[in-house]
Amino acid sequence: MKKWTRRAFIGAGVLAGGTLVIGIAIRPGNRSSKVAGLIASEGETVMNIWLKIAPDNTVTAIIPHAEMGQGVHTALAMMLADEMDADWSKVTFQEAPADKEYANFTLLKGFVAGNATFPKFIEETIDGVFLTAVKSLNFQITGGSASVRFTGQQAMRIAGAAAKSMLLQAAADTWKVPTEELTAKNSIISHASSKRSATFAELAPAAAKVNIPKQPKLKSPEEFTLMGTSQPRFDIPAKVTGEAKFGMDVQVPGMKYATIKAAPVFGSKVKSLDTTVSSSQQGVKKILNLGDAVAVIADGYWQAKTALDALPIEFEATENSGLNQAEIMDRYRKAMDADLADGNLEKHFKDGDATKALEQAAILVEAEYQLPFLAHATMEPMNCTAWVHEGKCEIWCGSQNPLGVKAAAAELLEIDIDKVTVHNQLLGGGFGRRSETDVMTQAILIAKEVDFPVKLIWSREEDTQHDVYREATISRMKAGLDQSGLPIAYTHQFIFKHHPPEAADIPYTIPNQLIQYSSPASFVPWGNWRSVDHSTHGFLTESFIDELAHTAKKDPFAYRKTLTKDNLRFQRVLDLVYEKSNWGAPLPANWGRGVAIAQSFGSIVAEVAEVEVSVEGKVKVHRVVCAVDPGFAIHPDGFIAQMESGIIYGLAAAMTGEITIENGAVAQSNFHNYPVTRMNEAPKIETYIINSGNPPGGAGEPSTPVIAPAVTNAIFDATGIRIRQLPISKNDLRASILPST
């Protein structure tokens, strides 16, 4: 039996074919259960909770994940249809209802246990335990770059393979022939010698009575017909006609609109509210004091917004009301100093005796890095429509966690969870922000005060100033090099450890390591920001290793290769990015090239950035070459799109992204002072995929952590200036560039 650690996943060859024993993933006995009632219409046959067949031979994959442009509905349906040998032109999808039956136990299992395989005797017990845990946690998350690698691998493929096996069995029983003589192709089962054939739909009623196999045989990669191809995405046509429905677009008969202003200082309360003027404004229905926020309900958003802006609201002062960013960072530094002095640092990783090895080193390298708070700035501002009536609650929103929304609503209203319905919509960007339930909670609190549905819309200002933020951090790194320039000791002291737990690990072979952290008090709300802790540690690790390389007077690329020489996957990714980026080829004056590599969410990504620094100190990123080993890219075009997206998202943060606190409140408010990458600033991106045959890694996040260090390392190459504080725009690069003569 393998150990239950995330590290255990390396080596588990799910894609190598063979069988997987995850019987409970396609729980039998559900055909007459409430699942059928949730997902099936008249005449449709539910083969298992992930799959139904209609009389017209349409196969519908039931996808327990939200679509935010990552193409999850298409990719997961492909995985199911491929194993089933379904006719792709007759395959469609349905997003699973927000219901405990669809809690993503495979996903949580993936997070806790990695892709580890377990002995057969224990498998069902594990799944049973996980399922119970997941249901009790109301876990139906789209996040962690996990849909394909966990739900796809451990539910969709198995569901498709199991359904095929049941259909084959039904045909064998009907025609009195051995299953071995039958073939399945394009949603038809055929018996060649007797020239008989039947569609999946014709066989479905009989097949549904066959026991669900516990060990359906999965295809090996050479048998794939859909996995590894780039099928047109289901969600795209409606997104070019304006018909696609996001949470923002929901229209419910009788609905009114609300907008809100929360206390600018986190944790503050409304002190006084004068509603006399605004109450009589045109279209205003109600003004609500929610304690920590004020909301206005009106006939339209504009009326609500106008009335809210005119409202004299006074908020209570708190202990943080005078606080600014510099003081916050100063407090963090002091907390780190105190923890170090008092021996209170929490241990992340220890190997050997780093303190002693540092003393013995020929060269000592030290650096302190600082990173800012970051907002998500999804394209679609936060919103939620709620209707509380007759002891029930209906919610329309775009959520990465609809089951969590349902549970939050039930708890808030003190009603049974079955009285809550969540209609999940398309998400206009998620990036982790839409895994929260704060906006839904507000919408419910507002809606329960009136007898009509209310759509709560946040202004962009509210969205920027009441986000849950990527942590601002300080990081202190030290390394000792031997005479040859190779590291013999590495220490890292950082603040705030969230997840994934391994994010601060380094991929480099260094004999003595001590990685520790502090958890100082912070009043700024934290949230999952695309790639989470990897977004900070990718920058820290890859900046510092670059510093070590330059200190050792080695090529930063060669240095990384030397220090990862036992890691074949890293070596191959580095070699590929070296070749494709023309590493070492001459560049124009004031240009530089930088490399960075990291493993996150099961994928290994290396990026080389080419930058130009102008005489005015302006940085232009011209080109990014991305090499990635995701194990296997189920939908290569979608995978490439995700790499590009993660790079642009990370680039925006690296170049200009910064949320600062002034007088206890967020200083930025909209895209003019929280600028993001625009088309004229976007580099040309080339992505190269290695299908290594390892278990599939994530797509949505792994390209984000390495873009910032690739760019700052390139800036060092161009200017000799080491960027130790993000965003890059905070650094004055003018002195480094001499005007050309």
Partner: protein, 158 residues
């Protein structure tokens, strides 16, 4: 009451003097393809055409568009069963990710191609940099514009 002509259809709406066209289009006319992104003309998600010119409907008072031809994403296709060349190119390039900004992107692209049927990369940058895509699909947007441009040349020479 104000009368607005949107996608060739007359709508009678109730708009105060300062009410932006965006909210009238979305809430009173029920055309939700035009999106709210920032409210201050920074992101381009709300782009519509007034007499063929791209405007940010989030800062354009609705009453200023009275008597003019307003076109939204719902109104650019030649008919119900045919997509606009730009929409078709967008599908062929599999351009959108989350899709929220794409109505605005497409409206800006249509306006660009009406003015300049074969824009260079630099001209595309200049015309499109007012439209933010947080999913970062800029290279696909650019490719889709070139593809639409090529389709326009072909259809014009037929």
């Amino acid at each position: 009451m104000t009368s607005l002509k949107i996608n060739g259809k007359e709508y009678v709406v109730d708009a105060s003097a300062d009410m932006p066209l965006l909210w009238v289009i979305r809430e009173q006319c029920g055309l939700t393809g035009t999106k709210f992104g920032c409210g201050i003309a920074q992101c381009g998600a709300c782009t519509v055409h007034i007499d063929g010119q791209p405007v940010r409907s989030c800062i354009t008072p609705a009453i200023s568009a009275e008597g003019k031809n307003i076109t939204t994403i719902e109104g650019i296709a030649p008919d119900k069963n045919t997509l606009h060349i730009v929409q078709q190119a967008w599908i062929e390039e599999q351009t959108p990710q989350c899709g929220y900004c794409q109505s605005g992107q497409i409206m800006s692209a249509v306006a660009l191609l009406n003015e300049n049927p074969s824009p260079t990369d630099e001209e595309i940058d200049a015309a499109m940099s007012g439209n933010i895509c947080r999913c970062g699909m800029y290279s696909r947007i650019k490719s889709a514009i070139h593809r639409a441009s090529a389709s326009l040349q072909t259809s014009n020479t037929l």
